[in-house]
């Protein structure tokens, strides 16, 4: 029995943040129905990476929208809108990520929806909140990263700004949306009233920096300064923290006692014995370690250091990762199958309830694939 069994979610969201939240809710048991434009459907269907398509829709769309249904409706057409309103009357949750003002024009603001369904949970994703000079700016991941200060934490000082190479603002925002919706469900259980949930990409990008921002606010507003050696991994952390090249690959070293490193790497770090120097002289220290680590293979160093209880790890790529026995053992992959029998290997939800993995082979829907079913179940009653 999945925790969200019986809940109905209407997803007006497009692209990544909102739909990634819909995917989490679907995997936890909710019935998620995408409300899409007829024929073309959600914009993400045509957004591909490396030009990979499964059917009429991109692999990217399939990755984010598996395990959902699709109801095609033109929100600008009054008769379609009337159908959607009937559906809203039966739903528990509505999500959208339109820019401020769009839902007012359509007539589906929180107040409008509340009038149809007084117990609705209405969840909104914006780029930057709904007031202030950035409210109308495009809520796009790289732009949000750039504005939020996030680009000054990765890479080396001399690299300039280095963004995270994944849509981290979108994905964290999707996670926060799920938290907000679930909290709203608990509130509704007590009050039996509808609830408004709001998140933004910018606030989510700031939230993941809570540690760095709190440090900045309490140290006299000193900006974080990254190390300037290859493999610098954290602006605030002392040597040896970072990634290093070995004879045959790379190794990462987490925080740890430099004197242990010095001893087992047979390296003289006596002049850095004072712990304060581990931070101030992190570049010099890391350079010395770097030279030493290139003498042996990663596996040899891992054996030496892990035997001493030192925190270190291999640096794998996707090919190597895919060959690890734990990928099978933990069932980190699952296969989904579309209507034409085409198989897509993808990841699964990370959470386990009552010892059970959440696996589901249902592929993303075609545009309007479920209109008939949904009409019969909810509308033509």
């Amino acid at each position: 029995m999945k925790p969200l069994d019986g809940l109905i979610v209407l997803e007006f969201c497009q692209f990544l943040a909102g739909p990634s939240a819909g995917l989490k809710l679907a995997d936890m048991g909710a019935r998620v129905i995408k409300i899409e434009r007829p024929i073309k459907g959600e914009a993400c269907r045509q957004l591909s990476i490396k030009d990979l398509f499964v059917d009429h829709s991109s692999l990217l769309f399939h990755t984010i929208n598996r395990n959902k249904e699709s109801f095609a409706a033109d929100l600008k057409n009054p008769s379609d809108l009337a159908l959607v309103k009937k559906l809203i009357a039966k739903a528990d949750i509505v999500t959208h990520n339109f820019r401020p003002g769009v839902m007012d024009k359509i007539g589906l603001t929180f107040a409008d929806v509340l009038a149809i369904n007084p117990q609705i949970i209405y969840a909104v994703v914006t780029g930057y909140g709904n007031k202030g000079p950035w409210a109308a700016k495009p809520g796009q991941d790289l732009l949000v990263q750039s504005l939020s200060g996030l680009t000054w934490l990765s890479g080396r000082k001399s690299d300039g700004p280095v963004p995270f190479g994944l849509a981290v603002a979108d994905l964290m925002c999707g996670n926060h949306l799920v938290q907000g919706i679930l909290t709203a469900l608990l509130k509704r259980a007590k009050t039996h009233k509808g609830v408004l949930v709001e998140v933004s990409l910018l606030e989510s990008a700031l939230d993941i920096q809570f540690e760095a921002i709190t440090t900045f606010l309490n140290n006299g507003e000193k900006l974080p300064i990254r190390g300037d050696v290859k493999g610098s991994a954290h602006a605030f952390l002392s040597a040896p923290y970072g990634i290093y090249q070995t004879k045959d690959g790379y190794i990462s070293l987490a925080m740890g006692d430099l004197s242990i490193i010095a001893k087992f790497l047979d390296l003289n770090l006596d002049q850095y014995a004072d712990k304060k120097k581990w931070f101030i002289c992190r570049d010099q220290i890391r350079n010395l370690i770097n030279i030493k680590l290139q003498e042996k293979n990663t596996q040899d160093w891992l054996k030496i250091l892990q035997d001493q209880g030192f925190w270190c790890e291999r640096v794998l790529n996707y090919k190597e990762l895919n060959q690890q026995s734990f990928v099978q053992e933990l069932q980190l992959k699952q296969t989904i199958i579309n209507k034409n029998g085409k198989q897509i290997v993808t990841t699964r939800n990370p959470i386990r309830f009552d010892g059970e993995l959440i696996l589901n082979s249902k592929a993303a829907p075609e545009v309007g694939e479920h209109n008939k079913l949904i009409n019969a179940q909810f509308i033509n009653q």
């Binding site: 990765s154 799920v178 540690e211």
Partner: protein, 379 residues
């Protein structure tokens, strides 16, 4: 009314992943009691990520443990364990992030807790789950980033592996745990049953990369390739990236190349009428040279009115001076029991228009013992 009022969460977790989940729940109204070892407490109290000490403890600890109570108790002592169990019998949620086996040895496994509290939500984060090969390894953020290949997505082609410069896997695992706990609490309101919620940092790291890993599985296992310069996403074509200008930087997210050529008055771009993925290194090199010739503001003034997705690149100082940041009301001041105050961020979620701020700072080790022991004796 706060939405999670009346929920009692007893939290054994340390460091970042678990405590970031309980912080979120505390901010939305739950009562969170941190269970800590006497004398040393949560190891995070002395984990210095910067040289910054705040009221004799680490800035990370203060960031992540505000708005919680601290109950210092030696649960390895049978008598104390008995006392603690009375509290656990009343909890809605019991959570921890010990390595597999630790709670079993103490006598606080899921089975032990449901024996005294059958409807409890018991939630745990491990580094790697119960995998034979990895279960005893430290669940540390950089090690997880390295193991799960996350380091090949950021930075440029020649940079070697580049990690994301904050504890992103910890944050994700914490976010997922909060989701699992909340979903289980919802089910409890409907079905009146408890739950065991489990996840690992390894699974959270996979989930984070669901788009790129799925691409890898379905394109003949080709490895991601970052661009030679200005990389922001290994799988996206030009112009996606950050570019240096005469006085700063400019982020450029989308835009057809001929349109950009025209708007930016960059003739060299006209040789790329089609935006071919394979040509992205050349296109980026030309853009990088051209954008250096003017100030950021100059480019923004041309591109923004044309609906090209672009932005300035700010640091904290610049961001905090922006009106758009000020209207978010994102910074709050909190106060510890001894009067020490500090500034930090707030919860990123708004419910019914309500921003969640909480004045209470992080707890001193064991500061709530007396009151909690009194409550236990009244049970």
């Amino acid at each position: 009314m706060l939405p999670l009022e009346d929920y009692l969460i007893v939290d054994f977790s340390q460091f970042l992943s678990g405590p970031s989940a309980s912080l979120r729940l505390a901010d939305m109204g739950a009562r969170v009691i941190k269970i800590e070892k006497p004398v040393t407490g949560d190891i995070c109290r002395t984990l210095y990520t910067s040289d910054l000490m705040m009221n004799k403890e680490s800035s990370v600890f203060h960031t992540i443990n505000r708005n919680k109570e601290s109950f210092a108790i030696d649960f390895k002592d049978p008598k104390e364990l008995k006392t603690l169990k009375k509290l656990l019998a009343k909890a809605d949620v019991v959570m921890h992030n010990f390595r597999p086996g630790v709670m079993e040895r103490i006598g606080l496994s899921y089975q032990d807790i449901i024996a005294i509290n059958p409807k409890v939500v018991y939630a745990e984060i491990s580094g790697y789950g119960a995998t034979s090969e990895l279960k005893d390894k430290p669940g540390q953020d950089l090690l997880l980033q390295s193991l799960t290949a996350l380091t090949w997505l950021s930075g440029n082609k020649q940079d070697g592996p580049v990690s994301m410069g904050l504890s992103i896997i910890d944050m994700l695992a914490g976010a997922h745990l909060a989701q699992g706990i909340l979903a289980a609490l919802y089910r409890k309101t409907v079905k009146n049953i408890g739950a065991l919620v489990q996840l690992s940092m390894l699974e959270s790291a996979f989930d984070f990369q669901f788009e790129t890993i799925t691409t890898f599985f379905n394109d003949g296992e080709e490895l991601p390739e970052r661009t030679k310069s200005n990389n922001a996403h290994a799988y996206l074509g030009a112009p996606y990236g950050i570019y240096q200008t005469k006085d700063g930087y400019l982020a450029l997210a989308m835009g057809a190349i001929p349109v950009l050529a025209n708007l930016l008055n960059c003739d060299a771009l006209n040789q790329f009428p089609e935006n071919k993925f394979d040509l992205r290194d050349q296109i980026k090199a030309i853009l990088a040279n051209h954008l250096l010739t003017q100030e950021t503001k100059f480019w923004l003034n041309i591109l923004e009115p044309a609906d090209i997705w672009c932005a300035n690149v700010l640091n904290y100082e610049q961001l905090f001076a922006e009106e758009a940041f000020k209207v978010l009301d994102f910074i709050q001041e909190v106060k510890m029991e001894d009067g020490y105050t500090y500034q930090t961020t707030r919860c990123p979620i708004k419910i019914d228009g309500q921003i969640f701020k909480a004045e209470r700072g992080s707890p001193k080790l064991g500061q709530d013992n007396e009151r909690i022991l009194q409550e236990i004796s009244n049970i």
